[in-house]
Amino acid sequence: MIDFLVDPFASSFTQRAALVSLLVALLAPSIGVWIIHRQLSYMADAMSHSTLVGVALTFAWFGRGAILIGALAAGLTVTLIIAYFTQKSTLPRDAVIAVVASGFFASGIIALGRVDTNISLNHLLFGQLLTVTSTDLKITLVLVVIVLAYVTSNFRDLTFVTLDPLHARQVGIAVGRQTNVVLVLIAMSVVVCISTVGIVLTVSLLIGPALSARLVTSTIAQQVLAGTGLALFQVFTGFVISYHLDMAPGPTIAVLGTAIFLLTHLAASLIRSDLRTARHPRRWPVKP
């Protein structure tokens, strides 16, 4: 049994993959809870798709080592563009996101077709966990430390703004500035997740564990902690399964996330049902 769990991490490249997975699991729920409660899931999805153009262009100009920086730049650019249109006009945000993000994603596909690269589009779209370089690992570590440091030191303010932005402004929190910082943190987190599950599946890792955790917790701190546990389980179990069944790690991890959500939902529903029955036992009419 131990060999079954350890074998996938025997080589240096799988150890790097495991380290990146660990960082992703620590990061994803910490930012995922704010994405969920601020209803930014679609925005995060748009950011992840938009990074493709940044990856293609930075690969062409600077080589393989710079693609995460390119992804970050593209994610931040699309965030700025969407923020500009939604703040300066009355256009609905989801429509603006759809138009801008699809343009960026399509540009990425065109750019990748014209760049002479050995990077497979599939690797970018669905994850490249086994090809993570030490540079990727360092960039991921820096981004994770920045995001976790901000979230931890501003946990209460993030809570107050997410609960009631109007009141938060009244008690002295710079709500607009914090909102922009959160968008930047989401862009950074998207870049971190791309290594593990790829552009298309990033949102499942960012949101999946945090959403599953919401079903069984009643405070935001509990949600973060439970989400981190679920994310760790998801990425490592997904990685081990993909190794033994010879499947792509990214999609396996994403599928596992959906399965965990469905099972957690089922378990939570059963527990709630049991509690209701215990509090209000059914009383069958007694026949005279």
Binding site: H37, T152, F155, R156, D157, T159, F160, T162, L163, D164, P165, L166, H167, A168, Q170, V171, G172, I173, R214, T217, S218, T219, I220, Q222, Q223
Partner: protein, 243 residues
């Protein structure tokens, strides 16, 4: 609770020539009044009369002309954090997973950043404010599990934790039954005895006549200011304010 016949002990809130415009529309025009310490005052008017605009202007949520003086300090030099404002449609995300005590802790943010472990002073203040609104037993309950009336009391406790000298409530008694509305006013009376001033908007004139000693009636401009049983005695005025 101080009644309109009581001599005011210096106004907590003094409003002079306040006007609000939305583009070309004048929502409020030259409104002036004062509210003393410990007064509970009803703000009445028809739909669209400007009640919400007046409360938003006082809370610093929208731009206005004219003077607003709170506790002797001019508003332009005043930190509006001394005002506890509960809007008609609060921007509160009631599905957010948070305990009641942590919501109330939000009021303490006014006094500085609240860390992961709150300062003992803030913890005591939160307990005290929850006790004042009768929710001490529900401090650890998730906000989403409370009834609408209880959630409103949580927001009231948060305003108290803010140590606001005046509470502005927009239609706080709307949509609740008579018993709950009376209980809410009883709470305000207790707070008034402790020196808090309350301005609460309502469109229910019968309720205002029954429970308030003073009302301010507006319809873009100030129409009446006094005891509702005296100033709302004509059918014409009653119709004007309630249509």
């Amino acid at each position: 609770m101080k009644h309109s016949s009581d001599p005011p002990s210096g106004p907590v809130l003094a409003v002079a020539h306040l006007s609000v415009s939305y583009e070309s529309t004048r929502a409020l025009d030259d409104i002036s009044f004062e509210i003393g310490e410990g007064e509970v005052v009803a703000l009445i008017g028809a739909n669209g009369a400007g009640k919400s605009s007046l409360l938003k202007a006082l809370a610093g949520q929208i731009r206005h002309t004219g003077d607003v003086v709170i506790g002797g300090q001019h508003c332009h030099h005043l930190d509006r954090q001394v005002i506890g404002y509960i809007p008609q449609a609060p921007s509160v995300n009631y599905s957010f997973p948070i305990r009641v005590r942590d919501v109330v802790l939000g009021g303490r943010r006014r006094f500085g950043r609240v860390g992961l472990r709150p300062d003992p002073t803030d913890v005591v203040a939160v307990e005290s404010c929850l006790g004042q609104v009768g929710l001490a037993d529900l401090a650890d309950r998730p906000l989403s599990k409370l009834s609408g009336g209880q959630q409103q009391r949580v927001l009231l406790a948060r305003a108290l934790a803010q140590e606001a000298s005046i509470l502005l409530l927009d239609e706080a008694a709307a949509g609740v039954d008579e018993r709950r509305a009376d209980a809410l006013i009883d709470t305000f009376d207790i707070l008034a005895d402790r020196g808090k001033s309350v301005l609460i908007s309502s469109h229910n004139l019968a309720f205002v006549k029954r429970r308030f000693a003073r009302c301010i009636g507006i319809n873009t401009t100030l129409l009446v200011d006094g005891n509702p049983r005296e100033v709302l005695d004509t059918d014409a005025l009653t119709n004007l304010l309630s249509k």
